[in-house]
């Protein structure tokens, strides 16, 4: 087992909160449009499919972790040698950093479009990253605490979808499977970004008290997220007509526009403000994972690495100016995530398996 002091470890069931809070992020606000473009009213099947694929990959991750004594960086080194292995691990650090960047920049765009058009990117980015640094510097246990609260606090938002029910026609979901299977699979691929987040388990695994037992919690988290996304997709498909949905950049937010309460005229403002809680663990854990890898691979302290990564994220948010840019980084991350989860990890598993066989024979 990788050497992590017990006082900085957390219980295995916390994996549930970490994974779920990491998965639910910025994608939820507008994934429906993207998947319904290819799968139409069958998009909810794509969500289930993406969830199922996620379970397979997660099981694979746990298997890989068992092989390398719970240390993914060690696994890279074992397979590719010290030098190349470390380069690959650093690529993962960049991946997690860019995940924080994408989430933060997309959220800033939402604020700019929906609430404050004259908010400048750097102002929010700086304030938010400072908060994230403050949390992350406290260590992994603090980050987990944030994950826990940031999943519990905004969960009340679920009830707001009640208001939408008045305007849903569920017959729009019929006939089921009216689209070719290839389209449904393609849409499932587009779901990757929204599903992303459970791969953090590769790096926080050593911080779980009884790692092996955390598998069931990780799977439970993935299942819950998948069911939530499916429900949301079904609701969205029934709420909008197909071509109307395709014009909504943030379908979830547009649905909140229908919420009417005597004391609040525009509920989406509350929703967007609350969404800060949802993305906080996303960014924090992204930064943490990234800096943790740097610490293990490079001769730097985690604190230094953290500052560097945060500065990188800050500069990154400044470099993206408009909708096209935000769209681009989202689809790039979607693609990288897809290849990482569904191509690279199975390859790694295959290498590990072959290596085991060869060694067994020797």
């Amino acid at each position: 087992m990788a050497s992590v002091a017990e006082r900085s470890q957390v219980s295995a069931f916390m994996a549930f909160f970490i994974i779920m809070s990491m998965q639910i992020g910025i994608g939820v606000l507008g994934f429906q449009r993207i998947i319904s473009k290819t799968a139409g009213h069958d998009a909810w099947i794509s969500v289930l499919l993406a969830g199922a694929a996620g379970h397979l990959v997660l099981a694979l991750m746990y298997w890989l972790l068992q092989q390398a004594d719970g240390d993914f960086i060690l696994l890279h080194q074992q397979l590719f040698g010290r030098w190349l292995g470390n380069v690959l691990s650093l690529a993962m650090a960049a991946y997690f950093a860019s995940m924080s960047l994408v989430v933060l920049r997309t959220y800033i765009e939402v604020i700019q479009v929906w609430m404050f058009p004259d908010l400048r990117t750097w102002e929010f980015s700086l304030a938010f990253l400072l908060l994230c640094l403050y949390i992350t510097l406290g260590g992994f246990r603090i980050v987990v605490g944030i994950c826990f609260f940031c999943l519990i606090i905004p969960s009340y938002l679920l009830f707001t979808f009640w208001f939408v029910f008045d305007y849903t026609d569920f017959y729009r979901l019929l006939p089921i499977l009216d689209h070719p299977l290839s389209n449904i699979v393609k849409a499932a691929k587009e779901m990757t970004l929204t599903m992303l987040g459970y791969e953090t388990v590769l790096f926080f695994y050593p911080f779980l008290k009884s790692g092996k037992q955390s598998a069931k919690w990780a799977h439970a988290a993935l299942l819950t997220t998948t069911l939530f996304y499916t429900l949301l997709t079904v609701l969205t498909l029934a709420y909008f007509s197909e071509k109307q949905l395709q014009r909504q950049i943030w379908a979830t937010l547009t649905m909140w526009k229908m919420v009417e309460m005597p004391f609040i005229e525009r509920f989406e403002y509350i929703g967007i403000a609350n969404w800060l809680f949802v993305i906080l663990p996303n960014v924090c854990l992204g930064l943490w994972c990234s800096s943790r890898i740097c610490k293990k691979v490079l001769p730097v302290r985690q604190k230094t690495a953290l500052f560097l990564v945060a500065i990188g994220c800050f500069l990154g948010t400044l470099a993206i100016h408009d909708r096209t840019g935000v769209n681009m980084i989202n689809s790039i991350l979607n693609r990288i995530g897809f290849y990482f989860l569904y191509v690279w990890l199975p390859c790694l598993a295959a290498f590990t398996y072959i290596r085991m066989k060869v060694r067994g024979k020797l």
Partner: protein
Amino acid sequence: MNGKTFLLVLMAASLLSGCLRKEILDDINIESAVGFDYVSPTKIKGTVLIPIYKKEETANKTLTAVSVSTKDILEELQHKTPEPLVNGSIEVALYGKRLAEHGLFPFVDNFHRDSSIGTGLYLAVVDGTAEQLLKGHYSRQGNGIYLSNLLKHNIEQRDVPKTNLHLFLKMYYADGQDPFLPYLRQVGQDVQVEGIALFRGDRVVDYIERNNMFFFKILTDSYTEGTHTVRLQKGNYASVKNISTKRTISFSGPKTRPHLHIHLSLEGVIREHKQGPFTPSTQQAVQQQFEKEIKINASNLLRRFQEQNIDPIGLGEWAKSQYRHFSYRDFYRRYRHLPFRITADVRIRDTGIIE
């Protein structure tokens, strides 16, 4: 960096992000309703209604400007007010008859795009001009609230089908449905719901009269609370308040020759009965007569839609959900001659507190 400096930086950063444009209620003019009218093929006239809150009542102030787009009109109007105009709480948007007949979508897009406007906004078509209707003086709460309440209670408790910006856009974008909006008219000191304006695309092509609105609502909306008076023999009549409606739309036959069946089942209570006690036999008579009226009137409406080649019920959407690999084009090519059957089932549940 120690904790204190960190906190300082954090505070500075959060203070900096507070430097955004503020909108304090006393320093802005809040639009409560807007209206658009046709001027020439390229120009429209916009009217904005601003409530001015006084001690006793709300006065109405209207501003008008002529320009090419809705946003442009708003900019034009800013020149006429000492305080900035904001559109976050528009309750009603009205469109003059002439504009609606020339196509209304370009003047809805703005509302659709603007994040500060709720999708619960009511849209309506006005007989005459929207400007004139907005310039009237209707109630102490101000015209904006008056108009939105008028539409709201008629939707919730009477025979206006559910409608708002979201539903209009939903119907407009759907390939298998044409939108409709309530049709208002100024009558002296009041505004009344005159009927329903039916669209083909974004142009009004027909109007449903007031006495047909009940049947229109049960055809388009699955839930209604309207009241309908059934005329019986010998000058007798009974008023039935509708409690719940269930609408079943189904298609039979192959995709190339669909046959439509609409079944409407209603449950109601007797509100008024002119002659004598309400016996089981009169109940039977009322139910039968009501069923007959529904069948005849709903069929007439549907035939009218077919002649106009419009689909406010959304039959195309229903057909799509019942046939695999459905083609809207083929469906609407045959729409005019689509054979249909309408059946009704009325059940009187109660007769009020007397027999």
